[in-house]
Amino acid sequence: MIAGGLANVAMVLLVAPLCEGVLRKVTARLQSRRGPPLSQPYFDLLKLLGKEDIESGESPALQRFVARLSLAAALTLACLVPMGFPAPMNGAGDVILLIYLLTLCGISTLLGGLAAGSTYSLLGIGREMMTMIALEPLFAIALLIGAIHARSFRLDAVLNGSVYAVPGIPWSGLILLVIMVLSFQAFVQRMPFDISGAETEIMEGPLVEYSGPKLALFKYAQMARLVIHSGLFVALFAPWGSGLAFPLGWLLFWAKVLALVLLVTAVAATHARYRIDQAIRYFAGLLAAAFAALALAGYGY
């Protein structure tokens, strides 16, 4: 079980910069230019680890803690997600823990901005807070619908297609699938919804006071969140074929994750960033639909 968890973590650590590299390269090709080489994020992370660490900001101790917390929360989440074989730690936690860890990833960004204390970072985390309030319930509702249909909170029961597990047409599952596809960009913080964290072009965002190794940890956490959220989406909504024997099921899982990353890239390369009020209005509509789906699930549809 521990070995399985470590295998998952190692897999995420290796693949996350590669997915980011694919994202940058495909974005470049869509913009008719030669992009960076596929292994560019590995070079970026290594270079950041070699730079000097300037301790600035309001409370450097909290900054040090939060830089490690963000990567740690993302990797703990990796142990709970089934990546081609059943989740290694699924006896140690259930759906409530999953929702808690998802929220913790977002909160670590908030803490990071607060620890820096500069005007730009406070502005960035204000927007991140507004986005999180509108956004985290969507994933939670998806998991809850799966739990309602499977009549249990255990991870192995929920994360294998339980949203569709009703006799007849799974209305609540399909509504949630559409909602999650429409809002997935915001979970992984890409265009058109990278309002808070990666807003380095407009205002520097919560990461403005971090330099060197701490910035490397934050960037690694962002890349890992792309892979882990895609993995959760695939496990929850597209689990077909995960029961196959070891090499095929595992490869199929990673192929599905890559397809989802390509979809994210295609949307990110062609859209412009939304303003915060436009984004909140968008999510409010999706939240209303999600609550309606939850009510339908309660009635057994």
Binding site: R29, L30, Q31, S32, R33, R34, A266, A269, T270, H271
Partner: protein, 174 residues
């Protein structure tokens, strides 16, 4: 949200292919009239200092060591490649070449320095006497730019004080 326009956008980007130039790998030709770095041809230069008088950035400095020797120095730092020196030169000794790859880590790499011999008469040893006093002034030498500190001196040596002409301004940094 108009999804169709986003698809069309993506297809336009992909159809254009890859438009990036392979620049440092392949050289890149320039247009006919391109004005790059000026090259001073010392064989043709007669030392009239017309280029130095006309440079808008005061990049060409002239120092008259004595009646017969004039040192002309082109500092490439502030040059805007306007080409006025090439236009004014009576002997066409300055050409605006097609070089633009002039990046360097020492700014002294762009200097061009010419030590010129102003011809004197071989019988009497004096320079040729010009018709008007203005022309005579040019021959006797009146430019004493400071080559070591690369500064253009705005006055003639007759009135030059020991202190530098322009004060250095101190920056207050706290």
């Amino acid at each position: 949200m108009s999804m169709i326009s986003k698809f069309k956008e993506a297809i336009i980007g992909l159809k254009a292919g890859c438009v990036t130039l392979h620049y440092p790998a392949q050289p890149r030709p320039v247009a006919e009239n391109f004005r790059g770095r000026p090259i001073f041809d010392a064989q043709k230069c007669i030392g009239c200092a017309g280029c130095a008088n006309n440079c808008p950035a005061r990049e060409i400095l002239v120092l008259d060591v004595c009646q017969e020797i004039r040192i002309l120095k082109y500092l490439g730092r502030r040059c805007t490649y306007c080409g006025r020196c090439a236009d004014v030169c009576p002997e066409k000794a300055i050409t605006m070449s097609h070089e633009f790859e002039t990046a360097t880590n020492k700014i002294g790499d762009l200097h061009q320095r010419l030590d010129l011999f102003m011809s004197t008469c071989q019988r009497c040893g004096r320079c040729f006497k010009e018709s008007s006093p203005l022309e005579q002034l040019k021959l006797k030498g009146y430019r004493f730019d400071d080559l070591d500190h690369e500064r253009w001196i705005f006055r003639s040596r007759a009135y030059l004080e020991a202190e530098p002409v322009v004060d250095d301004i101190k920056i207050e940094l706290d």
